[in-house]
């Protein structure tokens, strides 16, 4: 979570310097950030982007911390049966509101749940899809799936790419820091734009599935359409850098809050965070906020502190960081592939772990190629086991009509509402994107 948070802050560097977003949420920053670089204002744009990222994550994190006492009574109202539908709601949020096809998202989620069921069933000892292979009896380790689906697949794409990264983009160091400070001051100068975009981003972050990219786009739109000179956006306007950066970083707090309070992951990263909880024996879900409150606060403070540290590091060492853009891709590819192999082996000190990573790497590549959202598979895998546990507990404690409770029915109504709202949301997204593009 912390590395994700850091990557989003540092991702603005390439957006500004070479017009290539370091991470998907930094896409909107390219529009004005890169235009500013072309006008010779790279330092100012970088200062504004990094400063806005830090401010956004601090405000988002603090808002989330303040919201915990408000959310806690809501969490205490939930029973086992509600958890079942809450997990379904989380799955639906991400599959339906995600940018890929809903049908493909649901198929991916279905496979994710099936992968989660691999191994010996705890109460009966039935071998479920392990096909007698001992290394699968305890289930497929989540960390191997995540490594294969994301790290291996992304590295493979870099390896396939013929583009070289050799670019001379490092600005002159002497004037850089002075310009960056000016960019930081711009955040205060445009404080109302910053605040509006920040709150918009925070609000988007509460809804799982919409993601930081949408938050950044909304942050940009809020800055643009609240401005007295919207026609200048895209030509190198400082508010066009501040708006998306402050918005995408303010989602960290709200996304983490939803994930921790209700066990509904916001994105692939928060799904992996839940997977990490399972690995260390912590049951994700509403109980997390009650039983592990200090951990929740640690994580929220962690994102805030990380962004401050990353902001300082980027400010002090930007020249060196930018030089990393000159590193040839094959160095990165060999390093990551070897680390994946050794990391997978270290999981259980067996070759089978490497084979699992390779298999999921291939699955990840094919899913990416054919437009099947990998995040839905990860989410299905994280939530699948929990879903089964809660379902049986609900059936045992409240019988087959466990869903006839007000809270359960409200959550079911929300699930239906998501499917109904999908076309409306898509239309709004298209309109927003077309307006920003134009």
């Amino acid at each position: 979570m912390i590395s994700f948070s850091a990557s989003m802050t540092a991702g603005s560097i390439t957006s500004v310097l070479i017009g290539v977003p370091g991470d998907a949420p930094n896409v909107a920053t390219v529009l004005d950030g890169y235009a500013m670089t072309k006008k010779g204002q790279a330092g100012r744009a970088l200062g504004a982007a990094l400063g806005a990222s830090v401010v956004g994550s601090i405000i988002g994190g603090l808002l989330a911390i303040v919201m915990i006492p408000v959310i806690k009574p809501l969490v205490l109202m939930l029973l086992m049966g509600d958890y079942v539908f809450l997990l379904l709601l989380g799955l639906c949020f991400v599959t339906v509101l995600g940018r890929e096809s809903t049908l493909k998202g649901l198929i991916s989620a279905g496979f994710g749940i099936i992968f989660a069921l691999v191994g010996l069933q705890p109460s009966t000892g039935v071998d479920r899809f392990a096909f007698g292979l001992p290394f699968l009896f305890d289930g497929i380790p989540f960390v191997l799936v995540a490594m294969g689906l994301f790290a291996a697949a992304e590295t493979f794409e870099v390896a396939l790419s013929t583009e070289t990264s050799k670019r001379d983009v490092v600005p002159q160091a002497k004037s850089l820091r002075r310009d960056m400070l000016m960019g930081c001051k711009d955040i205060w100068t445009h404080k109302w734009v910053s605040l509006r975009s920040c709150l918009a981003g925070y609000g988007i972050g509460v809804i799982p599935g919409l993601g930081s990219t949408i938050a950044a786009m909304v942050g940009y739109a809020v800055a643009k359409y609240g401005s007295k000179h919207p026609e200048k956006y895209g030509t190198g306007v400082i508010e066009g850098v501040i708006g998306p950066e402050i918005a995408n970083n303010s989602t960290h707090g709200s996304a983490l809050l939803t994930t921790l309070a209700f066990g509904i992951p916001h994105s692939a990263m928060t799904a992996m965070l839940l997977g990490g909880f399972i690995m260390v024996g912590i049951q994700p879900g509403p109980n997390l906020l009650i039983e592990h409150l200090s951990l929740c606060f640690t994580l929220l403070w962690g994102t805030v502190v990380t962004n401050i540290i990353v902001g300082i590091i980027c400010f002090l060492a930007l020249g060196y960081i930018a030089k990393m853009l000159n590193v040839q891709p094959f160095y990165t590819v060999t390093a990551i592939i070897v680390l994946i192999f050794v990391g997978a082996y270290s999981q259980s000190e067996s070759y089978e772990s490497i084979l699992i990573v390779m298999a999921f790497g291939a699955i990840g590549i094919l899913m990416k190629k054919f437009g099947y959202p990998r995040v839905c598979l990860v989410l299905g895998m994280v939530l699948g086991g929990l879903f089964e546990n809660y379902l049986y507990l609900a059936l045992h404690t409240a019988g087959p009509l466990f869903f006839l409770r007000t809270t359960s029915l409200i959550i079911i109504a929300l699930i239906i509402a998501i499917f109904v709202a999908k076309p409306v949301i898509n239309a709004a997204r298209s309109r927003l994107a077309i307006r920003i593009k134009s």
Partner: protein, 165 residues
């Protein structure tokens, strides 16, 4: 876009789901088979729907589907290995398989530097840089995993067979 590859991919998924359901039906306990069956059948229905959709759609490019909306949102962000040749796929895939076989047969101490050296050299690095990179990468991984994380590294089948380790 509909391609032969995407049709094959979804067909494999449909076949896998049939195997999954066929397996789950045979289990004795309802606790074990309830969820796999429910999820398997639902996913099968959705997969068949997707298969039919892909099979009958001639030019999906003309439709504004969810994916295109996503692409508009991401302002041209490439997400799908566009324009990569089959040869490129096979070559890069072979490198990964070669690394696995190298590590499996020769062990970590030989497999990893050999892979790093060969890959860097083929991709255009000069001999000296490739050698330094191979040694550095092996050393960093060795220090990180063997000393810091206390994970014993792979010895390799050949050395185990020759009883050298």
């Amino acid at each position: 876009m509909r391609t032969r590859g995407s049709l094959i991919f979804i067909t494999i998924m449909v076949l896998s789901l049939i195997i999954i359901i066929f397996n789950a039906v045979q289990w004795t306990f309802i606790q074990a088979k309830l969820l796999p069956l429910v999820i398997g059948v639902l996913t099968l229905i959705l997969s068949v729907w997707q298969l039919v959709k892909e099979a009958v759609t001639k030019k999906i490019n003309q439709q504004v589907d969810d994916r295109q909306v996503g692409e508009i949102i991401s302002l041209g962000e490439s997400t799908s290995f566009e324009g990569e040749s089959t040869r490129g796929w096979l070559i890069e895939g072979s490198w990964v398989v070669a690394l696995f076989l190298g590590v499996y047969v020769l062990g970590y101490a030989i497999g990893v530097p050999a892979y790093a050296l060969a890959y860097s050299k083929v991709k255009g690095a000069k001999w000296l840089r490739a050698i330094i990179w191979a040694i550095a990468l092996t050393a960093v991984c060795y220090i990180l995993f063997e000393f810091v994380l206390q994970v014993s590294m792979l010895n390799g089948l050949l050395f185990e067979w020759l009883e050298l380790v």
